[in-house]
């Protein structure tokens, strides 16, 4: 294995003591916070964060320092929300960071709040992460007791209340404005932007929203300076990234690497490559909402800019590997079902678009579709992208379009094969596909399907050769 991890955030993470305040302190924890309150002006910290080029680790990749600088100055009540509602299929890095090193996150939150003059902070953690929320509750209580939270922190005059808020199972709450609504005790529906949360967010006040991993980086940057941070990673993507690798690989899990390492090193080096006798067929480079890439793109560097250039995105840094046993149309259906289930229903293109995409993909795997339907699927996706308040619909539209475009042959094969043989193709798993009845129902349907498929090239099948009139 030629590649080693570069652990900043996950250093010593296997030590269970690190989750306690004493363990964290014994590794130099909270010394940066003390230094910040003693020696550093808030503006210096904001400047340092901006200089470091730290980009948001939750998906959008927006500069964290810029976000802080957008908050208005002045005495109004400002809020910080740490987005720990990690619910994207493929992403599980925040779970690891909160479970193994909760104080690193708390220290980052306190320093960021001090820099931006924030007096109320919340960690919005998804409801399923019960044990991680307990760990955070415990850590927050320890930090209060040590005087790192509460009134007049370390005699500085800065007050900060930190509350761990458990969600209750809704992917949409990871969207920043939906998160605000959920935190205000409502249904988690996204809001119209602008006004952006930095201007008018939680309870109408200016609000800074950052991901767990982004905030966990703060104390490291403040302690070591922007230049130190920029010595990791690439010019446009400085720093390290905790990458969640899952799917058809030997060693799935979280690996922390410098941004800019090659995808091949990540998938074959760290995660051990595909399972025995399998090959990589496609992979999502940044969670289920990123357009899939193919093995031809394995040698690209893993950075925000390289992924964008390849027509995909780094997103939350979650790689899902599909090996050659996976049927891409079925993977598209799974992806679409997730977004259909999680759509909040506020905007029509997303609510209806996800619903119809699922219906159409079900027809594809049942063999009731024609290749023309693939064009309709693509056009539906184009009518979702950019037409909603938030990007949930886009998150389905982008990977589904990419799958249809890059693997169109496979979609057509599945349609044709299912139409003739009445059973889905490529592997045994689809036959039990939940909610999809395998095979044609009766002669009438079969004739209808064949008529629809007339003039289309079909795979060789003795049955088809006899019965199919070719155009």
């Amino acid at each position: 294995m030629s590649i080693v991890e570069t652990r900043i955030l996950l250093r010593h993470a296997n030590d269970p003591e690190l989750a306690t305040i004493d363990g964290y302190r014994s590794h130099g924890g909270y010394s940066t916070l003390e230094k910040a309150y003693d020696d550093l002006e808030p503006d210096t910290i904001v400047h340092e964060l901006e200089e470091s080029g730290l980009r948001g680790r939750g998906g959008a990749g927006f500069s964290m320092g810029k976000k802080v600088s957008f908050l208005p100055h002045g005495n109004q009540t400002k809020y910080l929300c740490c987005n720990a509602d990690e619910s994207e299929p493929g992403a599980f890095k925040d779970r690891e960071l909160m479970q193994r090193n909760p104080h690193q996150l708390i220290e980052g939150i306190v320093i960021a709040s001090y820099a931006a003059g924030i007096s109320h902070a919340f960690i919005f953690i998804r409801g399923e992460y019960d044990i991680q929320a307990d760990i955070l509750d415990q850590a927050v209580a320890e930090a209060y007791e040590a005087g790192y939270l509460g009134k007049n922190i370390l005699g500085s005059g800065h007050n900060l209340e930190l509350v761990v808020h458990r969600g209750a199972g809704a992917y949409i709450c990871g969207e920043e404005t939906a998160l605000l609504d959920a935190l205000e005790g409502k249904r988690g529906n996204p809001r119209l932007k602008p006004p952006f949360p930095a201007v008018q967010g939680l309870y109408g006040g200016p609000t800074l929203i950052n991901n767990v991993e982004t905030l966990s980086n703060v104390s490291h940057i403040v302690a070591n300076g922007a230049d130190w941070f920029k010595s990791f990673g690439t010019e446009q993507s400085p720093g390290t990234k905790v990458v969640s690798i899952s799917g058809g690989v030997r060693r799935p899990g979280n690996y922390e690497v410098e941004l800019g390492v090659s995808l091949r090193d990540l998938i074959y080096g760290l995660a051990g490559g595909p399972l025995d006798g399998r090959e990589v067929k496609a992979f999502y480079p940044g969670g289920s909402s990123s357009p899939v890439l193919t093995p031809a793109e394995l040698d690209l560097p893993y950075s925000f800019e390289a992924m964008a250039e390849a027509g995909s995105m780094l997103g939350s840094g979650s790689i899902i590997v599909a090996d050659d046993s996976v049927s891409i149309p079925h993977m598209a259906l799974r992806t679409a079902r997730f977004y259909h289930h999680e759509s909040c229903g506020k905007c029509t293109p997303c609510r209806e678009g996800t619903y119809w995409t699922v219906k159409m993909l079900e027809r594809v795997v049942r063999g009731e579709a024609t290749p023309m339907d693939l064009d309709i699927i693509t056009s539906v996706q184009q009518n979702i992208i950019g037409h909603c308040l938030c990007v949930l619909g886009d998150s389905m539209a982008m990977p589904v379009s990419a799958m249809v475009n890059k693997f169109r042959n496979e979609f057509e094969e599945v349609i044709a094969h299912a139409a003739i043989n009445g059973l889905p193709t490529t592997d045994g798993r689809e036959a039990q596909e939940d909610g999809v009845e395998p095979g044609p129902g009766g002669v009438g349907l079969e004739v209808l399907r064949r008529e629809r498929l007339m003039g289309r090239p079909l795979p060789e099948s003795p049955q088809a050769a006899e019965e199919m009139p070719r155009a």
């Binding site: 996950l10 009540t77 299929p89 925040d94 199972g169 809704a170 409502k186 289920s288």
Partner: protein, 236 residues
């Protein structure tokens, strides 16, 4: 429909009537009226838990999700009575809390037994056998597989809820399941039977498959990178 009196020659068109499924959760009293605390008989423990949550937020409505968690902890699911009690404590309408509860997947609006098993069937788990794992849990518990894949099904004895679920954020454990809010994986279909038996006898469930017991996949790594070893930040 009260003001509609059909004439004698009226013939019903026989259209299907759209009836909401409200089994077990017909509203009590007027859902649009804030109930008085004195008329709901709220247990002290529940009231105190909700009041403690309300004190944490600048706006007391923010406590609606924590309040519903408290109701679910007290009664096992979000009962109409429980939501009415929470509404009285929070001074909001029961309809408001119901609207919040019905939005979030983890709030159960129907009785759901002593234990809940959520089996992930999303992309990564599906690739590694999540559907087969859900099959196995259904078979071991006698729950209906079709219903389990669409919102959850009760085991034959009504004690365990089995539900297919969207990504639980543990794709490294694929295929995995969350049993009573603890994560387990990677699981074999055979583990389902063991887990169900352990739930029924009250033993610890699959102790060696618990998420908390797992180290990082890369093991302990100490890098000789100067930038890391000389860091002045945390994790030194």
């Amino acid at each position: 429909m009260d003001d509609f009196t059909p004439t004698e020659d009226f013939i019903s068109p026989g259209l299907p009537v759209d009836q909401a499924n409200t089994t077990g959760r017909e509203p009590l009293g007027d859902p649009q009226e804030v109930p008085e605390l004195s008329e709901v008989d709220c247990p002290d423990e529940l009231r105190e838990a909700i009041e403690a949550s309300m004190a944490l937020y600048p706006d007391h409505k923010s406590a609606s999700i924590p309040a519903l968690w408290a109701v679910q902890r007290t009664y096992g699911w979000c009962t109409p009575e429980g939501m009415r009690q929470a509404a009285a404590v929070m001074k909001v309408t029961p309809a408001y809390l119901e609207s919040v509860a019905s939005f979030y997947d983890l709030f159960r609006l129907q009785p759901s037994g002593e234990s809940q098993v959520l089996v992930c069937t999303n992309i990564s788990c599906w690739m590694r056998g999540g559907d087969e794992l859900l099959d196995a849990f259904c078979e071991a518990s006698g729950a209906d597989r079709g219903e389990a894949g669409h919102g959850g099904a009760m085991s034959a004895d009504g004690e365990i809820m089995i539900s297919g679920f969207e990504c639980l954020g543990a794709c490294d454990l694929a295929p995995m399941a969350s049993v009573n809010e603890r994560y387990f994986g990677p699981l074999e279909p055979a583990d389902a039977k063991t887990a169900i038996n352990q739930l029924r006898t009250g033993e610890d469930v699959l102790p060696d498959k618990l998420l908390a017991a797992r180290p990082l996949p890369g093991g302990d790594q100490e890098s000789s990178d100067e930038r890391l070893t000389s860091s002045k930040g945390p994790n030194r």
